[in-house]
């Protein structure tokens, strides 16, 4: 770590969430804190011919009021989520994008599914009726970069913008990508991602993974780290965070919610969960080293929680190797067990949750889970009060990416930084 970077770590100043368990942090945090279970039968697929029936669906969200009608017709549901989350994040940060030099404010999102529902509708028109029936917005709506593009255009952001299509772990990698832009002189970045994968085409893509829970009971469908772990419940939704240059945030008098202190990423191969123990370990160690910290500093861990027996065992092994004898004492949690796993947005929602956990000094529980089959301190039942200074967020992609992000409480001394 270079002394020149001391104190230069980016800071989170705003969080916007559109999730199955709540719209906005005002709804999301109490639901997460109290372990609310938001999994249910998928209403968008009625009748549902697929073996996966339980999911985390964002109910009660209509684009009207969040998205201009002109933009609504040219965008997919995943972009509606991203636009709404960006709006909430900017409000939470009390940051008017017009007050920032346009070239100093960018947006970085993670992508996985893209605008699948919109895309399927147009492709159906193509094969049912012919090419002249395909709407021109198909050219932009399905695209992974649609969220970054629309958030950028809608808010007048002309700074560095992009999308990382890097598996689910890309949801953490975008914070490193944004950190790089901030280091190069940008003042602020909107960082996040959204998913809306509940159309037939997207369901078929997911079923091919062989990792989704086929349980029909919302109360037990997603049981990571238990003997009953039999896959995850998929989810839609997303989050956007305002991440700023620390100096710029300080100068405008922003409330700093958390410091993005370090990131690490590795790749261990598709469906090689046995190797992901080493992959996660090295990603986490790299993230802590970048933050100028050691594993002894970790106060809580937000788990990837694939709910696949091999994958869960590998993640537990990574924590044992990383934390040593502390592994059985450091609180670990998987709040997403309550609302599902939303692919590239899953880790972003975990980052949002970690920021809120730091703010409230509470580690939220793993909803619906009553036991842990590993020697880990999995938080179940009620949220646990902890004097949180440093939290570690882990994410794995179903195709082999392993990433880790270290977040710190804003009042902690910063010795390192991305």
């Amino acid at each position: 770590m270079s002394p020149a970077r001391t104190g230069s770590a980016p800071v989170v100043t705003g969080v916007g969430v559109i999730a199955p368990n709540g719209l906005g942090v005002g709804e999301f945090w109490p639901a997460v804190r109290d372990g609310h279970l938001a999994l249910a039968p998928i209403g968008r697929l009625e009748p549902n011919p697929y073996p996966v029936t339980v999911a985390g669906e964002v109910t009660g969200f209509e684009p009207a009021g969040w998205v201009e009608p002109r933009i609504t017709v040219q965008t997919d549901r995943f972009t509606h989520f991203a636009l709404a989350a960006a709006d909430l994040a900017l409000r939470d940060a009390a940051l008017d994008p017009a007050a920032v030099e346009p070239f100093e404010f960018g947006v970085m999102t993670a992508g996985y599914s893209g605008g699948v529902e919109f895309g399927q509708r147009e492709i159906e028109r193509l094969w049912r009726h012919g090419p002249e029936h395909v709407g021109p917005y198909q050219s932009i709506a399905w695209f992974y970069a649609a969220c970054s593009g629309q958030v950028s255009i809608g808010n007048g952001l002309r700074g560095p913008s992009g999308v990382l299509v890097a598996d689910e772990a890309g949801g953490l990698d975008i914070f490193a990508a944004a950190g790089g832009e901030l280091r190069r002189g940008v003042r602020a970045m909107l960082v996040g991602g959204a998913e809306a994968p509940f159309c037939p085409y997207a369901m078929c893509c997911q079923l091919g993974l062989g990792l989704l829970s086929t349980s029909g009971d919302p109360a037990t469908a997603y049981q990571p780290f238990t003997k009953r772990a039999g896959g995850f419940a998929p989810a839609e939704g997303g989050a956007m965070l305002v991440v700023e240059n620390a100096g710029a945030a300080h100068r405008r008098g922003a409330t700093v919610q958390a410091v993005v202190a370090g990131h690490g990423a590795t790749y261990t191969g598709r469906r090689r969960f046995d190797r992901s123990a080493q992959g996660l370990l090295r990603a986490a160690a790299g993230a802590l080293a970048e933050a100028g910290l050691t594993p002894d500093d970790v106060d809580a861990v937000f788990l990837d929680a694939m709910a696949d027996p091999l994958a869960d065992a590998a993640e537990a092994e990574a924590l044992r190797l990383l934390l040593g004898e502390r592994a059985s004492r450091v609180p670990v949690t998987a709040p997403k067990a309550g609302y599902g796993r939303s692919y590239s947005a899953a880790a972003v929602l975990d980052v949002a949750t970690a920021v809120l956990a730091l703010e409230h000094g509470l580690v939220p529980p793993t909803p619906g889970v009553r036991e842990c089959r590993f020697d880990l301190d999995l938080v179940i039942g009620a949220a646990r009060p902890v004097d949180l200074r440093t939290v570690l967020v882990l994410s794995r992609g179903v195709y082999g990416g392993n990433s880790a992000l270290v977040l710190r409480h804003p009042e902690s001394p910063i010795s390192g930084g991305m």
Partner: protein, 80 residues
């Protein structure tokens, strides 16, 4: 195939295709362009495609955002 579109009908079609609220009065205003209304080139392409499919507008018809809805109205069969 319905080829008789009133200004109000055309306004409703444009609104449906582009999400931009448009009135019949705006359609007949010779000074108002699609740019003024907030209809971009992709939106206009969708409007033209619909008119070509359903309302007998020539496949060769072309229109750009700096032109007016009145010019689009003139492209409809029986109105030129």
């Amino acid at each position: 195939m319905d080829t008789r579109l009133s200004p109000d009908d055309l306004a409703a079609l444009i609104s449906r295709c582009t999400g931009v609220p448009v009135t019949g009065e705006q359609i007949t205003d010779p000074d108002r362009t699609f740019d003024d209304l907030g209809v971009d080139s992709l939106g206009l392409m969708g409007v033209l495609a619909e008119l070509q499919r359903e309302h007998g507008v020539s496949k060769n018809a072309d229109l750009r955002p700096h032109q007016s809805p009145r010019e689009l109205l003139a492209l409809l069969p029986g109105r030129a």
